[in-house]
Structures are given as structure tokens and as C-alpha cells.
């Protein structure tokens, strides 16, 4: 397979209110690779993800992105509407007619909650709903910020397995996680 570089970062630095969050980070990511961004709380993992996504700008350094704008992203916030039903949220995500929807709703045990208002679901169930955005994506790049938090062991395994399958399809993954997972990844340690 012809692996192309989709992200190349050179000497990325980020300062907030005069405090250095990270300094001179360099890394690259190719098609079909996973990058695990690790580090202590507050080291700037989420900020780095936001820089990669183009939401935040780095203070110094150069970042070249060669991926399409269509990215499957799940951050700390689930981007779901808790006053709507699960079905309405699927409509908002544009997933209501996706051919794989039924399969994943069954795998995640969400099928029986389709007409339930999301506020009445547990935190884990809400996270599973948000993960559908990842499971049913057609993007070449998947970006996840602490995706395993709030998930039961079974769902964590399903997610790890799914991500490994996506890597086999030559998709790229960037993620942060404090929970150990079995995804073959490059590690970028932020100090």
C-alpha cells in the first residue's frame, strides 16, 4: 500500500497566558497509522488535538495537513443534544439512513432506546451514542480525545477492535487515552 504522509509537524510550541504547554514537538503521521498522544493531565494533549484539527493555532512551529476536511472527531464534549431523543440526535448527525446504523445500535445495545430522550440515558450510553459518529464515519482520519472514558469493558474492546479494523483499511487515527488499549500506535509523549 502506498502510505502518504497526512500530517507533518515541526517544532510545534504552544503557550497559554505566558505558560509553555509544550515546546518543539515534531511528529508525522502516515496513512494507516495511529498516533497515541500521551502525557500527564494538563500537558496539552487536547490542545495539540485542537491544533491538528485547526480549531486552535500553535504559538510557534509548522504544521502541514494533507487530509481532507472531513474528519471523524470525538472530543471531551459529546456534541449530542440531551433534550432530543436518540433518533433525533441520529438525524442531527446525519446518520439516520446509514446502512450500518442498525448493526451498531445492536452492538452497542442502544436499539431499544431510539425513542428515549438522551437526558434519560446514562453517561456511558450517551458516550456510545456519540461514538456512532466515529463508528459510521467515512473519513480517512479519526481523531479521538479520551474515547474510552465512561465506557464499559465490553464497549472499550469493541472500540479498540473497530479502530484496528480501520487501520487495516488504511485509515489514520490520532487519539489520547489514559486507559490502556490494544491499538498498534506510534506514541507521542508530551512532557
Amino acid at each position: 500500500m502506498n502510505n502518504q504522509t497526512i500530517i507533518e509537524a515541526n517544532n510545534l510550541s504552544f503557550k497559554i497566558n505566558g505558560n509553555k504547554l509544550f515546546h518543539n514537538l515534531s511528529f508525522s503521521l502516515n496513512d494507516g497509522e495511529a498516533l497515541h498522544i500521551s502525557g500527564e493531565n494538563g500537558s496539552g494533549k487536547s490542545t495539540l488535538i485542537r491544533i491538528i484539527l485547526g480549531i486552535t493555532k500553535q504559538t510557534k512551529g509548522n504544521l502541514e495537513n494533507h487530509f481532507s476536511k472531513d474528519i471523524a472527531y470525538l472530543g471531551h464534549k459529546n456534541a449530542i443534544k440531551d433534550y432530543l431523543t436518540l433518533e433525533d440526535n441520529l438525524l442531527l448527525m446525519g446518520l439516520q439512513d446509514h446502512k450500518g446504523l442498525k448493526k451498531f445500535l445492536e452492538i452497542l445495545n442502544l436499539n431499544k432506546y431510539r425513542d428515549v430522550v438522551v437526558a434519560n440515558l446514562s453517561f456511558g450510553q450517551q458516550k456510545k451514542l456519540a461514538l456512532l459518529r466515529i463508528f459510521l464515519n467515512n473519513s480517512d482520519l479519526i481523531v479521538l480525545d479520551e474515547p474510552f472514558v465512561g465506557l464499559d469493558t465490553e464497549t472499550q474492546k469493541i472500540l479498540s477492535q473497530f479502530l484496528n479494523n480501520e487501520l487495516d483499511k488504511n485509515k489514520s487515527i490520532i487519539y489520547t487515552s489514559h486507559i490502556p488499549c490494544e491499538i498498534e500506535s506510534k506514541i507521542l509523549e508530551i512532557r
Binding site: L53, I55, K69, D70, K77, A79, K81
Partner: protein, 215 residues
């Protein structure tokens, strides 16, 4: 069109957000006659001032949480990384809010105006003024709320109200023109001119402000 439908679905299900401003408008207009003598000529004296101020307050309330929820739940981040134009999303959002809040308030303006003045023609002339001004006010308050997105809506309203004062002056002059049977279409065109600038400028400016907040 899809975005329009989705924004409509979101607002429709948040009944507090669209019903609240309409009810506030209704309550102010109901309360007004209770504070003055119930003679028709006395009622008419301050009626239109109260009407425009009630419209202003209702649109201020309507814009209160227009972006806050999407900002807090991460939806704005999702939009920012997609190909969808941020400014067009904002235009659609404002349009839906105006459709579900501004239009009913304009209809109520007509009804209350007719109930107070018993002058059908005058009340009919109030309707386009109310429709245009509610859209202008909403856009202005949206700008204010974007500026103070995570600092509370009061600050945004304080920033915006001075911008709404010229519109209130034009609305006042329009009523005088209608009452003295002078052609008031010039005022309508003036308001439409303001609206056409605001309708393009506000979404663009707001999109930059929100991007800065997300950064």
C-alpha cells in the same frame, strides 16, 4: 435546506427558548393597559413605544442562548472541522429563530395594535415594521451574544442596545408618519436597507467571533 430542517427541529423541541420570548412579549402587552387609564385615547399615547420596547426585549431574550448550548456541548467544534460554512450556519440559525419567535411576535403586534387602536389600516402598517425590526433586533443581539458567549448574555445585551437605538428612533418616526397620514414607505425602505446590510455582515462577523472563542 437540510441545515434549515435540523435547526428547526432543534429549536422546535426547545419550547422554552421560543415560547419564553413570545410569552414575555404577550405579558408586557397585556400589562400595559393595566398601568394607564383604560380610555382609548389614553391607551394609544404610549402604546407604540411599549410595543417596540417589548419587541426589543423579546428579541433580546430570544437571542440569549442561541450559541451557548452548541458551544457547551461541542457542536460548534464539530461544525468548525466540517466543510459547512460557519457563516451560513449562523444565518440559518438566526432565520429559524426569527421564524419561530419574530413572526409570531409580529402577528401579536398586529393583534394588540388593532385591539388598542381599533384602526385596521394602522395595525396593518405596523405588521411590516414589526417583521423587519424584529429581524434587525435579533441579528444585533446575536452579535452581542457572540461577543459575550461565555461571559453571560447581560454583557452582550449592554453592548448591543446602543446599536438598536437608531432603529427605535426610525420606528418612532414611522408611527408619527402613519398617524399624520404621511407616506411611511421611506422608513420601511430605510429599515430594509439596514436589514440587508446586517443580514450579511452579522453572520460573517459572528463566525469570526465564535472561531476566536473556540480557539
Amino acid at each position: 435546506m437540510k441545515l434549515l430542517k435540523l435547526e428547526f427541529l432543534k429549536l422546535k423541541k426547545k419550547s422554552r427558548s421560543w415560547l419564553g420570548p413570545i410569552l414575555v412579549f404577550w405579558l408586557i402587552m397585556i400589562a400595559y393597559p393595566l398601568t394607564v387609564e383604560l380610555l382609548p385615547e389614553k391607551l394609544e399615547v404610549g402604546f407604540f413605544s411599549v410595543l417596540w420596547i417589548a419587541t426589543l426585549i423579546s428579541m433580546m431574550l430570544a437571542a440569549e442562548d442561541i450559541f451557548l448550548e452548541d458551544f457547551n456541548d461541542g457542536s460548534l467544534e464539530q461544525t468548525m472541522i466540517k466543510t459547512t460554512s460557519f457563516a451560513s450556519l449562523i444565518s440559518i440559525k438566526v432565520f429559524i429563530y426569527w421564524l419561530l419567535i419574530g413572526i409570531p411576535i409580529s402577528l401579536l403586534s398586529f393583534i394588540f395594535s388593532f385591539g388598542t387602536t381599533t384602526n385596521f389600516v394602522l395595525s396593518l402598517m405596523i405588521f411590516p415594521l414589526s417583521i423587519i425590526s424584529s429581524y434587525i433586533f435579533l441579528n444585533l443581539f446575536v452579535l452581542g451574544n457572540a461577543l459575550s458567549l461565555n461571559k453571560g448574555s447581560v454583557l452582550g445585551a449592554l453592548v448591543t442596545i446602543p446599536l438598536a437605538l437608531p432603529v427605535l428612533i426610525v420606528l418612532g418616526k414611522s408611527i408619527v408618519a402613519i398617524q399624520f397620514n404621511i407616506n411611511y414607505s421611506g422608513f420601511i425602505f430605510l429599515l430594509l436597507g439596514c436589514l440587508s446590510i446586517i443580514i450579511v455582515a452579522v453572520p460573517l462577523v459572528v463566525s469570526y467571533i465564535i472561531k476566536a472563542h473556540l480557539e
